[in-house]
Symmetry: C2
Subunit: 685 residues, 2 copies
């Protein structure tokens, strides 16, 4: 499933194809200089049939002429020459080619697509690996391999973050700013068109790399969804968090990504479901991904979801509360012991509660402020702690690294330092951050999001990825379906067949009122047109009377169908096969008006009852299922069982691609659900 990026990222020998001062607008020279500057320890050859010597080195006319087989060919030649050159290279044992050039069919041009096909054929024939085309190269920090055509990457520090960006233009800026904030890198790859090696391959490489502890990606499109899922599962098992920014929330953004990368778009909401299942953190912006990477870089995970926070400002505390609610964060309730310890330290008149405003009196005392923090982080109700703190910008700024480091040392819980806003981070600031040993984040919204990302990731690490069972080939034909639905909590409305009006009345009494009565007769195929349907009948006599009246209007009466009428909250619950990511569950509130608002939740299967409850809880209109305007709460437990049942049922069969229950009526607490209408669509294959 995974192709190796070893020859790209850890080559033992390199050849620069198209070596000259001018080729690729000077890129060949820039890459060569970066290799020389980094001190790349292995052999670097130059290839150019028009030269003998360049940059104090011999130049070879071809791969055939080289004294050894080459791991990595860095190909800086015009796109039209690439297929022919690679054919010679592959025939002479090249393991991997890095292609920078564009015009490989990105905009849909036919010549470029033919070029791509020719290179793909070489990959298949020779087992050649290709990175790019249409990329900005890769950087292997430990290997001192700076295959990026600009000197600014020389300043990037080594560290635990592995980076894969499909957008080569954005790549360098993220690396630079992340480095300015104190992050360091193991490998950084701009993956371009992903003609061969793709996102899944690179993530797999980074998961297997012992120096990478955290993976950050910018994604425009996913070429091999199944491989991505496998890589994500492997990353989760290895406790290496994946963070990503993905283009495509909007239709226009998705279309731009499709035409830019040539990858299939897929349903963006399903991608969110992928992230939820595999513990991937999807960040709303490139800046946000830096804050979240900083939060993850400390390597600590919370044991629960309860966040503690301290700052020396009432106004900032108010804003923090707003952001906490926006992000759905759970705030810790301090124990009475913690409150009693805090009260004498903080300013008089401010409440000792979480989130804590210590009062402005502690703003200038790092010692007293961090004493409060140590007390709070030790509270058993706090799982993760956010501590106000700014990095010094100049030597004049107050700085007490020991005080803040003391909070880290006093606990094994994750601690995030945060400022109210962004600030310039200087060498002094980075050194201070390193001395404290805690990440310093910018801004309260990003801090709350990062804390929530830690909480969600930790929960997923604990739960792992629920495996998809192999289908049992359950046969749902005919009566088996109703039975299977009922067995899985998808109870149909109660009903029965009566031969006479009197029997219909007794049956209705047994079913419970109100009921609907429908005539059964070969002459009444359109029952309502012939007056063969009566709804909302409330007692035995009405049922018998209505049935009698129907019988008088129609000949050849066989009997009467009596069915309970259900009144509840309408839901839509469905399981289907997504073209990219396989079986998914889609559920939401039903009814025309509500459907217009698209208040739905999507998760990958399997969905158990706990996950079903999470889905229900994520609906904007979930209040409808609770006590609402004097009506008692609905049977949410039965709804969760029904959703989990549908998940099991869908996975047990391999005949249908789509189950939709619309409506699934949710009755009062203890009364269950009723699958009023069930539609199935067969798999097309």
């Amino acid at each position: 499933m995974f192709r190796s990026a070893e020859a790209l990222l850890r080559p033992k020998s390199i050849a620069i194809v198209g070596a000259s001062d001018t080729s690729g607008s000077g890129w060949a020279r820039a890459v060569f200089d970066n290799l020389a500057h980094g001190g790349f320890p292995a052999r670097v050859y130059l290839i150019n049939p028009k030269r003998d010597r360049l940059w104090d080195q011999p130049v070879y006319p071809s791969f055939a002429a080289l004294p050894e087989k080459i791991d990595l060919g860095i190909v800086i030649i015009p796109a039209p020459l690439v297929p022919e050159t690679l054919a010679e290279a592959a025939a002479n044992g090249l393991k991997c080619a890095l292609l920078y050039a564009a015009r490989f069919g990105e905009g849909g041009d036919v010549e470029g697509q033919a070029r791509t096909q020719a290179v793909v054929a070489l990959c298949e024939k020779y087992g050649l690996r290709v990175s790019g085309p249409n990329c900005m190269g890769s950087i292997s920090l430990r290997e001192k391999l700076l295959l990026y055509p600009a000197p600014r990457v020389r300043a990037l520090p080594e560290g635990p973050v592995g980076v894969v960006f499909q957008s080569g233009g954005t790549f360098q800026f993220w690396l630079q700013q992340a480095a300015a904030r104190g992050l360091g890198f193991s490998y950084a790859i701009s993956s371009g068109n992903e003609l061969d090696l793709d996102l899944a391959d690179y993530i797999n490489f980074l998961v297997e790399d012992e120096h990478t502890r955290l993976i950050a990606c910018m994604v425009e499109g996913v070429r091999r969804p199944a491989a991505l899922l496998a890589a994500a599962e492997k990353a989760l098992a290895a406790k290496k968090p994946i963070l990503l920014v993905k283009v495509g929330r909007s239709a226009a953004g998705q279309q731009a990504a499709v035409s830019h990368t040539g990858a299939l778009a897929g349903d963006d909401a399903v991608f969110d479901a992928v992230c939820a299942k595999y513990g991937i953190t999807r960040c709303p912006s490139l800046d946000d991904m830096i804050e979240t990477a900083l939060a993850f870089s400390q390597g600590r995970l919370p044991r629960g979801e309860r966040i503690g926070m301290a700052i020396s400002s009432g106004g900032a505390k108010g804003l923090f509360l707003d952001y906490a609610q926006e992000e759905g964060a759970t705030l810790a309730t301090l124990t009475p012991e913690t409150v009693a310890k805090l009260q004498p330290i903080i300013d008089p008149g401010v409440p000792a509660e979480n989130p804590l405003d210590t009062g402005a009196g502690l703003a200038t005392s790092a010692v007293r402020f961090t004493e409060c923090c140590r007390i709070m982080v030790a509270d058993p109700n706090v799982d993760l702690f956010a501590m106000y703190g700014m990095l010094p910008i100049t030597a004049q700024d107050p700085a007490n690294a020991q005080a803040y480091a003391g909070v880290r040392a006093a606990t094994d819980k994750p601690v995030i330092c945060f400022g109210r806003m962004a600030q310039n981070v200087t060498d002094l600031g980075r050194a201070f951050q390193a001395e404290v040993g805690l990440p310093y984040l910018h801004g309260m919204p990003a801090t709350v999001r990062a804390a929530q990302a830690l909480v969600r990731y930790a929960a997923r690490v604990r739960s792992g990825v629920a495996p998809l069972p192999a289908p049992r080939g359950l046969d749902l034909a005919g009566a088996g379906l109703d039975c299977a639905l009922a067995e899985h909590g998808l109870t149909p409305p109660r009903s029965g067949f009566a031969k006479t009006p009197a029997e219909a009345g007794r049956l209705a009494a047994a079913l419970g009122f109100p009921v609907a009565v429908k005539i059964v007769s070969p002459e009444a195929s359109h029952k309502s047109e012939v007056g063969g349907v009566a709804l909302a009948l409330g007692d035995e006599a009405s049922v018998a009377t209505a049935a009698q009246a129907m019988a008088e209007r129609v000949r050849n009466v066989e009997g009467f169908l009596v069915q309970e009428m259900v009144d509840g909250v309408e839901m839509i619950v469905g399981a289907r096969l997504d073209a990219q990511y396989g079986p998914i569950m889609v559920m939401g509130l039903g009814g025309v008006a509500v459907e217009a608002m698209r208040d739905i939740a999507i998760r990958l299967l399997p969905v158990d009852e706990a996950l079903a409850r999470e889905m229900i809880g994520s609906l904007r209109g979930k209040a409808l299922l609770g006590e609402f305007r004097g009506r008692p709460a609905r049977d949410v437990a039965a709804l969760a069982r029904a959703i989990a049942g549908l998940s099991r049922l869908f996975l047990a069969q391999n005949e249908y691609a789509d189950f939709e229950i619309n409506p699934l009526m949710v009755l009062g607490a203890g009364e269950g659900v009723r699958a009023v209408d069930v539609r199935l669509a067969r798999r097309s294959s």
Copy 2:
């Protein structure tokens, strides 16, 4: 309505009360040093009954002992001493006191509240003005008046931004970071508890100040809503944009703000309606307010809403499209002439469209890239232009200020430069930004929000604030109400009274089917219990039959009420008096299920048809009013007329505090609306 902050911000004489090296933890000394450092040109006296000389100056025992009357007393003494000291000061002609101390009843303590009452009494008796208490002072940049107790404010540059923060702790950090980004300040006030001078007073001062062109605030609570509205209206008329961050989106945040400031909370959604009416930009975070202030600082406003954008990256273009949709931005469609001019300049294979990805080939050519920008900004379909650009951090970074300045010079439209992400902004970067003459924003989400803020503000500047008409004292008692509703587009369902079953049938035919029939009889007060109601009758015969059947069940039949049954989209439309901000309109989709989602829009009155359409367009479930699942579109024009009519009707009377129409049924296009149920509540006074 407004109290003058003149003596606070432009005093001619100052006395520091409590002058000593130790008072206020050294604050007195710090303020004195800041005054000396700034070179404040007017007279500064020291007051302390326990001293004779200090800091090479004479010290006076009291205000009475001073050689002149004082404009501003800077009071740095413990809270319990404040009332007595101020009494002496006010009696001796002090115009304004700046109180730093806390413990004036913020946490609800009784002693502090008594202190506040004592000072308020002095304000009333002597016309004394007070700034604070519980604040961090003020800064008047042109007057060299640095009344903030720390040296770091000395580095703040002069400029056009006036600042009012209720949170003194947050104040300095915003100023520092805004300055780092190139913003300068006229006046900056931390307003604290606002015992006397408040947000509205300070905004009024800044609007009247000729050097202030932009006002930035952090708000926890509004003490005098009517004064704030008046100040906001004055600011809009003076074309001085107000930006603010307000605590209180969440109930918890609001509660924290209330207990921190003592101001009333009010409805946060109504505050959004205030912002919409007065062109106030509410920023989601402190960082965002810096980006938006930068965007406004260029002083140009767009003539329309169409945004153009250029960047040299397809991935970034995709993200920009996502953010544009999230923020509801309108993107410009380029003319064919513009497309033809762009095509030969940009990389081959990338489309010449807006937003523009020029291709990576232009990433290193500021000249070619800005040539594209000049072409785009000249397009008549572009009202505002966002141009990719980074500030140089060090002298090694590429920098071509002329190229970017050329885009500014080529147009009078607003142009925003933006980077994909935050970056450190150094002296070099600020100088570059000043040379270009355009603001450089951080991050695409904030850039789109800032562009939208410019678009919305410009629209409000064009429209102005619609005035509230004086109530005409319209009498709505009795039959006048139905008539007035109908005249204002709030059509009731058609109905009539029939004496006999046959007449009921004919009346129904005249009204149009289906109809409901209700018996009118003194014996049938609970009509449905006695079988006195029939719904959904579809023809004349059914009506007559149903009426006949009712008449047989009840004695003393007076006749029958026949009413059209309406089937449409249920809305809730209401006008009411908000306790803080006066008359407001609340509208949204109706029906139990939809109400659970709180899909509503709120605006301050008056609401005309254009604003009503904007409210309708802001609903998540607005799709229900358009063509939906094969059903034709609803009569949105009639809905807008009804909303505007309700606005006029509500404002014409002064008897009722609350009109609620629930449901207002919206029928098919051309069929109007029906105000099925109208409830009124009288004013309590």
